[in-house]
């Protein structure tokens, strides 16, 4: 089987992290975002993966070559010279996607969940129509486009309602699909939207079904959601009883959902958790308090610091008695001086912060 991952641009919404690495290479739960998806696809029997990008991804190639070897699959990069929207990239990669005539997966690279590719493929085969989109239940459907099914059918889609005022359903497009190759006949090579143009045509022909996603789902395209998505991901690991999580018997673990790379060092008298990810080669000093945060590889949090709802970028240093909170994001190689308070600061790479940031601000 084959898959296309819609990567798109460099990921400006996830800056300042994406000033250093393209979004698919940012670690989510101590694993690069793209690797979560490649791993799940390979496990579902996918042999060819196309990454649809619209920038020159030199830095990606090295990692992709590694993953090809690791999973024994082919990964190609399909570069758009102009952005082709969400459907155009499928046409651009037509040659690969048509290979062997079996259905192919399409997924948005911003989405995190327990990828249900095997079950999705089986369901798709069972109904025999052209396409299946994964849908997820949301609490506030009025903010999204809601899927409405045909009467007497649990899965065949009747229509989409954008931001419904009245309740019509609570299932929304989760950004993951499986299509028969015939869908490529519906798409022209031009900037075009799969949601706006392709799906309505398929719905009209009664060819589009929905598949309910189990468990969590999150678009992690921006820092706030990246943190929330990390919490959901860690909770799902806990639910599965994953060995990756640090056991709650460790004296410093507080409230669970703590993921620590084995190469990280943790000081004395710390209180860590819930919902904390600590990357490779991170050094956490004595008496540090961490909760709902992500420490990316090579970063250092010094003694007695307090960090909450924060992403500490690669190789960054958080000073002693510093306090970071309210979706603070430190880019690569940022230094927060001792005793400094940062409230919702987005700090660009290589900056040193010596004074309090009392209100949310971007520090250039």
């Amino acid at each position: 089987m084959k898959a296309l991952i819609l990567v798109g641009g460099f990921g400006t919404r996830l800056r300042p992290l994406t000033l250093t690495l393209p979004k698919p290479l940012v670690e989510f739960g101590n694993k690069r975002m793209i690797l979560h998806q490649i791993e799940a696809l390979a496990e579902a029997g996918v042999t060819d993966i196309v990454l649809a990008v619209n920038y020159r991804p030199e830095i990606m190639e090295k990692y992709l070559a590694e993953y090809e070897k690791q999973f024994g699959i082919n990964i190609t990069i399909s570069i758009e010279t102009e952005p082709l929207g969400t459907a155009g990239p499928l046409k651009l990669a037509e040659n690969t996607l048509r290979k062997d005539g079996t259905p192919f997966f399409v997924l948005n690279s911003d989405v995190t969940c327990n990828y249900p590719f095997k079950e999705l493929a089986a369901f798709h085969k069972s109904h025999g129509d052209e396409g299946t989109i994964v849908v997820t239940k949301v609490e506030e459907p009025s903010k999204y486009g809601v899927v409405v099914h045909k009467p007497n059918s649990p899965s065949r889609i009747d229509r989409f309602v954008e931001k419904p005022v009245e309740f019509v359903g609570n299932r929304i497009n989760a950004g993951m699909y499986i299509f028969n190759t015939s869908v490529l006949d519906r798409i022209e090579l031009r900037p075009t939207s799969i949601e706006q143009e392709t799906f309505p045509a398929m719905v009209k022909d009664g060819q589009l079904h929905s598949f309910d996603l189990e468990g969590f789902w999150m678009d992690v395209g921006q820092p706030k959601d990246f943190l929330t998505g990390t919490c959901l991901y860690l909770s799902s690991l806990a639910k599965k009883g994953s060995k990756l999580l640090t056991p709650n018997t460790e004296p410093y673990v507080h409230g669970g959902n703590v993921l620590i790379d084995p190469s990280a060092k943790i000081g004395k008298g710390c209180r860590i958790g819930p919902n904390v990810t600590i990357g490779p080669d991170v050094v956490v000093g004595d008496g540090v308090r961490l909760q709902r945060c992500v420490l990316l590889s090579g970063s250092k949090v010094k003694d007695h610091a307090w960090v909450k709802s924060t992403i500490v970028g690669w190789n960054s240093i958080v000073g002693r008695w510093a306090r970071l909170e309210n979706v603070t994001v430190l880019g690569d190689d940022v230094t927060i001086a001792d005793e400094v308070y940062v409230n919702g600061g987005s700090v660009l790479p290589h900056k040193t912060i010596k004074q309090n940031v009392d209100v949310p601000a971007i520090i250039m």
């Binding site: 004595d286 008496g287 540090v288 308090r289 007695h304 307090w306 002693r320 306090r323 005793e339 308070y341």
Partner: protein, 440 residues
């Protein structure tokens, strides 16, 4: 027209007996020192490990000719009893007495009311110190200037920035002779950046006559203003008791100093050393810092020895318990029986007696009230103001807030809670983050 100074028997070179008066005010005053003055009279509030007026006494003790000190104010007698007892043993060369005004008479009115006591033993000079002043009190230098100029009065002056000057009494002086040419209290327009420090040295023979002149003028003026008919004028010298009391509200700054400038025998000693007013509760933080630095420079043995975790100057009361991993300083005072836990950071702050700061907490630019508790990983924080500033408020999001965070008596800050630029009245528990607020 200058006041007639009688010929003195002693030559000006040798100082005769000198007395000192510390004006301590009363509980209805000093409201700006709340919430701390709700529990302790401002003059007895500890900065750099000692009550504010203790710092005055250490300076007074260094003047050899002073053996008697009066505290004048309108607090109840009992308020200063313990302090006077302790100070009398600590300063054995000084006799310290509290003279209580039964009503606020004004700074000069109070002096005048107790003139018999003050003049007993015929002192030649009288120092008058406002207790809400923090400075190095160069009293001997003032005395020298007084003797060399045969002065009726010497005022301590200091230079401040031009935009701050109008908040103080302003002195225009002759740069060469140091003679005060003009004195005006809180002028509307800029007159001089040399301001009144609230420390005076008077010639005993000149002080009371000039207060009397001011009282007389006060007595005459309201009568003339309120009773226009001539039949009342004839009885204007017959002052009934009630009026006489009212008219004794005479303040040194407004009613006396201006006249003294006319006397030609009024001089200013300009200090280049530190000077701050202790008005708001937050101003105890710069005062604490300045007195600690003074103690550090003079090699005081009271201060904690510097180390990796003690950045001098730091005062730690012998009965306090500070964990060796806590990092303190600079400019920190830790009061009696305080507990400071492991990994705590305290900087530019006063921690008052019986309070506790738990592990990994951070206290910056703050005053922790008596018996208060700061939780683990909590952050209690004020905002540093410029060293040269005489102001303890700052503008945050367009609103004036106190730069120094102050916890009143027996307040609690929960674990991991952050308190910034807040003033918290006694007995409050802070369980959530707060910033830029007064917490009732």
């Amino acid at each position: 027209m200058s006041l007639q100074v009688p010929h003195r028997e002693k030559p000006s070179s040798g100082s005769g007996a000198t007395k000192a008066v510390i004006l301590v005010g009363g509980s209805s005053r000093g409201t700006r020192f709340r919430p701390l003055s709700l529990d302790v009279p401002k003059p007895l509030f500890d900065v750099a490990g000692h009550p504010i007026i203790w710092h005055c006494l250490t300076a007074i003790e260094k003047v050899p000719s002073i053996s008697e000190v009066y505290l004048i104010g309108y607090y109840e007698e009992s308020v200063f009893r313990d302090f006077i007892k302790d100070a009398s043993s600590e300063f054995p060369n000084l006799s310290i007495k509290y003279l209580r005004e039964y009503q606020a008479l004004g700074t000069a009115g109070g002096l005048y009311h107790f003139r018999d006591a003050i003049l007993k033993g015929r002192p030649e000079h009288i120092f008058v110190l406002n207790s809400d002043v923090c400075c190095s009190f160069p009293l001997n230098e003032m005395l020298e200037l007084s003797d060399s100029r045969d002065a009726e009065a010497v005022i301590l002056g200091t230079r401040v920035s031009e935009d701050a000057a109008n908040n103080f009494g302003c002195i225009v002086s002759d740069a060469h002779t140091r003679r005060v040419l003009h004195y005006v209290e809180k002028p509307e327009s800029y007159i001089s950046n040399l301001i009144n420090c609230g420390v005076y040295l008077f010639n005993a023979d000149a002080l009371f006559p000039s207060i009397r002149t001011a009282i007389k003028r006060r007595t005459d003026r309201p009568r003339l203003a309120s009773h226009r008919s001539s039949e009342h004028l004839s009885s204007s010298f017959m002052i009934d008791d009630e009026d006489s009391e009212k008219n004794e509200v005479i303040r040194l700054e407004q009613d006396i100093l201006g006249d003294m400038a006319d006397s030609k025998q009024f001089f200013v000693y300009e200090t280049k050393d530190f000077w701050r007013q202790i008005k708001t509760a937050g101003s105890a933080i710069p005062a604490n810092a300045l007195y600690l630095q003074k103690a550090w420079q003079s090699g005081s043995k009271e201060l904690a020895a510097p180390s990796a975790n003690i950045i001098p100057p730091v005062y730690i009361h012998p009965s306090a318990s500070v964990h060796p991993t806590a990092k303190l300083g600079p400019n920190v005072s830790i009061g009696p029986r305080v507990t400071v836990g492991p990994g705590v950071r305290i900087k530019e702050s006063i921690v008052l007696e019986d309070s506790e700061v738990k592990h990994d907490a951070c206290v910056l630019y703050s005053i922790i009230g008596w018996g208060s508790r700061v939780g683990a990983w909590a952050r209690v924080e004020g905002t540093p103001t410029p060293v040269t500033s005489h102001n303890t408020s700052i503008i945050k999001n367009g609103v004036k807030v106190q730069a120094i965070t102050i916890l009143g008596k027996e307040c609690g800050v929960g674990d991991e809670v952050r308190v910034q630029n807040c003033v918290c009245l006694p007995f409050k528990e802070l369980k959530r983050d707060v910033a830029n607020e007064v917490i009732m």
